[in-house]
């Protein structure tokens, strides 16, 4: 009898070169949805897929280890400390213009040794979506929203990063590298 396998487990999120480890990630939802083209005919209303992406986003919750960790999501808004062992900050608003750069975003099952079951967005923009509930009983958690942008490669791929060999996403270099041999 063959063992049936299903996907599931802890996941980590790479946004550009920074990674949110699974212990700091709450639930995440990936939504890519096509629009609907509706036409009315004498035979009734006909709904067809529009061929255009209307929703392309990743939503989730970041369980914050520190305010400094917000740089993972809001790198362009981050102000670095001026000496070691100090903490940085993000600045919301202000007179300086902040231009966001698209970054690759990769969701990876932490316990898997390759990218076979990854979800990869080629170019993501993090939408400011900070909602902090202060209370004595819960860890500080903020939701986040990453909007996928169209590229010449498409919006995203679900599955293996390279179809010719086993690879794993390397956030530091922001490219797929060879997976460990045991993969």
């Amino acid at each position: 009898m063959e063992n049936v396998t299903y996907l599931g487990g802890k996941a980590e999120l790479a946004v550009g070169s920074l990674v949110i480890e699974p212990q700091f990630l709450g639930d995440m939802t990936v939504t890519f949805q096509e629009g609907t083209r509706t036409s009315t005919s004498l035979a009734g209303t006909i709904n067809r897929p529009s061929g255009q992406i209307e929703t392309a986003q990743i939503e989730g919750n970041f369980i914050l280890p520190s305010m400094d960790a917000l740089k993972t999501l809001y790198a362009e808004m981050y102000e670095e400390p001026t000496a070691e062992n100090l903490s940085g900050r993000i600045r919301i608003g202000g007179s300086d213009c902040v231009a966001q750069v698209t970054k690759p975003v990769n969701i990876h099952y932490s316990c898997e040794s390759n990218s076979d079951n990854d979800f990869h967005v080629f170019a993501g923009l993090v939408q400011l979506n900070l909602s902090l509930a202060y209370n004595s009983g819960d860890n500080l958690v903020t939701p986040f929203t990453i909007l996928a942008q169209p590229t010449s490669d498409g919006y995203a791929i679900a599955g293996a990063g390279d179809l010719s060999k086993k690879t794993i996403w390397d956030a530091t270099t922001q490219e797929w590298i060879d997976a460990p041999v045991s993969a």
């Binding site: 599931g8 487990g9 802890k10 480890e21 699974p22 212990q23 932490s110 316990c111 898997e112």
Partner: protein, 128 residues
């Protein structure tokens, strides 16, 4: 069997030694230390398998058992990112991959046995 692998994980992290002061499902009359007990749970299709368990600490000293259990709680609560529980060769138990160790409860004082030993417990579950 995954709870035997959990005991091995505890042993590898310096909590104790299997069959000396850490036991599976029951504990000898004279022994002191930890024992782990499986608790069944209904499984649903579309959800990952969950093994619930309780860990008991039995010790003559009220504080020693509690301290031992708190070191287990601290270890497991900081091991969310652990992916594998190790194989246990002497019981022919394989390693378990893609596991998640969920945080343990705070300790409960269960009571005192006929020999005056204090028993503490904590409960948790493993998703795998």
């Amino acid at each position: 069997m995954i709870t035997i692998a959990l005991l091995q994980f505890l042993e590898n992290n310096g909590i104790g030694t299997i069959d000396q002061d850490m036991f599976w499902q029951n504990i000898g009359l004279d022994a002191e230390g930890l024992y782990i007990v499986n608790i069944g749970q209904a499984q649903t299709r579309g959800s990952r398998r969950v093994q619930r368990y309780e860990i008991y600490a039995r010790n003559k000293s009220k504080l020693a058992g509690l301290k031992l259990l708190e070191s287990v709680i601290e270890l497991i609560n900081n091991s969310y990112s652990v992916c594998e529980l190790p194989a246990v060769e002497k019981y022919d138990v394989p390693a378990f991959g893609n596991i998640t160790l969920m945080p343990l409860s705070t300790p409960t004082r269960v009571g005192e046995d006929a020999n005056g030993r204090i028993i503490w417990s904590t409960s948790g579950n493993i998703i795998y």
